[in-house]
Symmetry: C2
């Protein structure tokens, strides 16, 4: 596959990638860089990287694949600092949840003989940092690639094999399609999760304490993802704002209809909503995207 892969940004995603590569042995050399020294210390201590370097420039020299897995707001400055050192003929990728805007940055950089192939592994947990990563994070999860039509097929093939080596399934789609789907499958649910917690917290102290105490009645399910990496999510909301706002508007319109059914005590309408929802959940479990164990198999 690749002789040398360089990973810039070693949080949950970056560190899961080098853990997976170390495990499957498909890459000869993995070089890592993170601008937070304490992150590099952890990687060193746990012996997770073949070489830890102290500048992004050092990281990319001789790399056949450069993977930038920082929050999206760091993508441009990182790329700007390494662009002169990228190896001719190498592949450049990322792991961002929003693809809009990245192509514009790439164009501005005027890269010569570099294959830019955006990647988005749709996998993660609510935890952050190099200790949160694990080698099986991508197993049976999708990775979406959004190369433009001019990209060399053999390079798309190479990066596909790279993700597949970590157990991921690969899907190719356009930037527009990717950002639309993710706005509804991931970004909107995060907005809603933050918002229901915000609503719970906008009560007096006594009520707030009670909501925490009795959260097993449903609320707790919505609170898991609110501890996800704040910088990453701030970037996502800003970079995909138009589509997320479309999603919020659709959600609000549906909520008004739902409220009406509750206010009018419309049993028929309520049961109809429940019945349709059930099918959707069952399809998610069927597709292997969630466990069918009660309470997510919580212990």
């Amino acid at each position: 596959m690749f002789e040398q892969v360089s990973i810039i940004g070693c949080g949950l995603i970056g560190s899961s990638i080098f853990r997976a590569l170390k495990k499957n042995g498909s890459v000869k050399k993995v070089i890592t860089f993170d601008n937070d020294k304490s992150v590099s210390e952890i990687i060193k201590k746990e012996n997770l990287s073949d070489k830890i370097v102290s500048t992004p420039e050092e990281a990319v020299r001789n790399a056949d694949l450069v993977l930038i897995s920082t929050p999206q707001s760091s993508f441009e400055p990182v790329l700007d600092s390494v662009k002169k050192y990228l190896k001719s003929g190498s592949i450049l990728t990322d792991t961002n949840s929003v693809k809009k805007g990245l192509d514009v940055i790439i164009k501005k950089m005027n890269l010569k003989n570099i294959s830019w192939i955006p990647s988005h592994p749709v996998a993660g947990t609510e935890q952050s940092g190099p200790r949160a990563g694990f080698s099986d994070l991508f197993r049976d999860r999708w990775t979406i690639l959004t190369p433009d039509s001019k990209t060399k097929h053999s390079d798309v093939k190479k990066i596909s094999v790279f993700w597949e080596s970590m157990g991921s399934k690969v899907k190719i789609m356009s930037v527009g399609e990717h950002d639309k789907i993710l706005s509804l499958s991931s970004h909107l649910p995060h907005v809603i999760a933050y918002n229901i917690v915000k609503t719970a917290m906008s009560n007096d102290e006594k009520t707030k304490k009670n909501l925490i105490k009795y959260s097993a009645g449903g609320l707790r399910d919505f609170t898991r993802i609110v501890v996800s990496n704040p910088t990453m999510w701030k970037d996502i909301f800003i970079n995909n704002s138009d589509l997320i706002i479309d999603g919020i508007n659709k959600f609000s319109k549906n909520l008004e209809e739902f409220k009406k059914a509750i206010a009018e005590k419309d049993s028929k309408k309520l049961l109809e909503i429940f019945e349709n929802s059930k099918e959707f959940r069952e399809a998610i479990v069927e597709a292997g995207q969630d466990t069918d164990k009660p309470n997510f198999g919580r212990k």
Copy 2:
């Protein structure tokens, strides 16, 4: 404790109660009734009840505790059919998620020398029916009792010990306080879960398929509770409609503010929302109401 406990309605909650009682041996005799014959067949086959009866009247004769764990819309007809057969001095309880309205029904029944002590075990899974029940469902979970001030203290003590024998922690509060807390900790989250699934489903077939496929990005967390018992949830939304609508209105107001922060790409405001949310989640885990394992410990 009690010599004879009679359970009417043997779904997830009812069947978890008799499984727990059978395990802890604290009750001499457990009698069960369900109006669905296939439910009684399952109970018989798995030998879960000391006596399965074929009418609710038969169930309550000689019972020291009668527990009605049917959806709320069946509470009145069930009680109407058994009221003449309740043993003098016995305790009557339920397991409903909304307490408003039950006291009115009780008053109408004009019961003589019966201690009515409403119970709500804040525990459950998204599954329904007698096969979904398990003896540890109530372990370390709260049960809220909402007796009125005239209720005999010794009876409140008895029913508290009953729930504690199954591992539950007991809290006493007013009907109003109970319904307000649950409207936010349980009922509103269910509305939101149904609504986000409704929003996902109001797309074309291709998009819907993609949302299922990539639901691991966040959406899947919201789909678990939408398969919960439809009749039960229809009853909850109808019986607690005023407080749930208050909750929806607060949620919508917060969502408009949130949308504004996204539209204005207000990093500071977004990071502030995330920071506050994080504290709330941490408090839930701290209170033992959820696991701290990544992805709820999903396998």
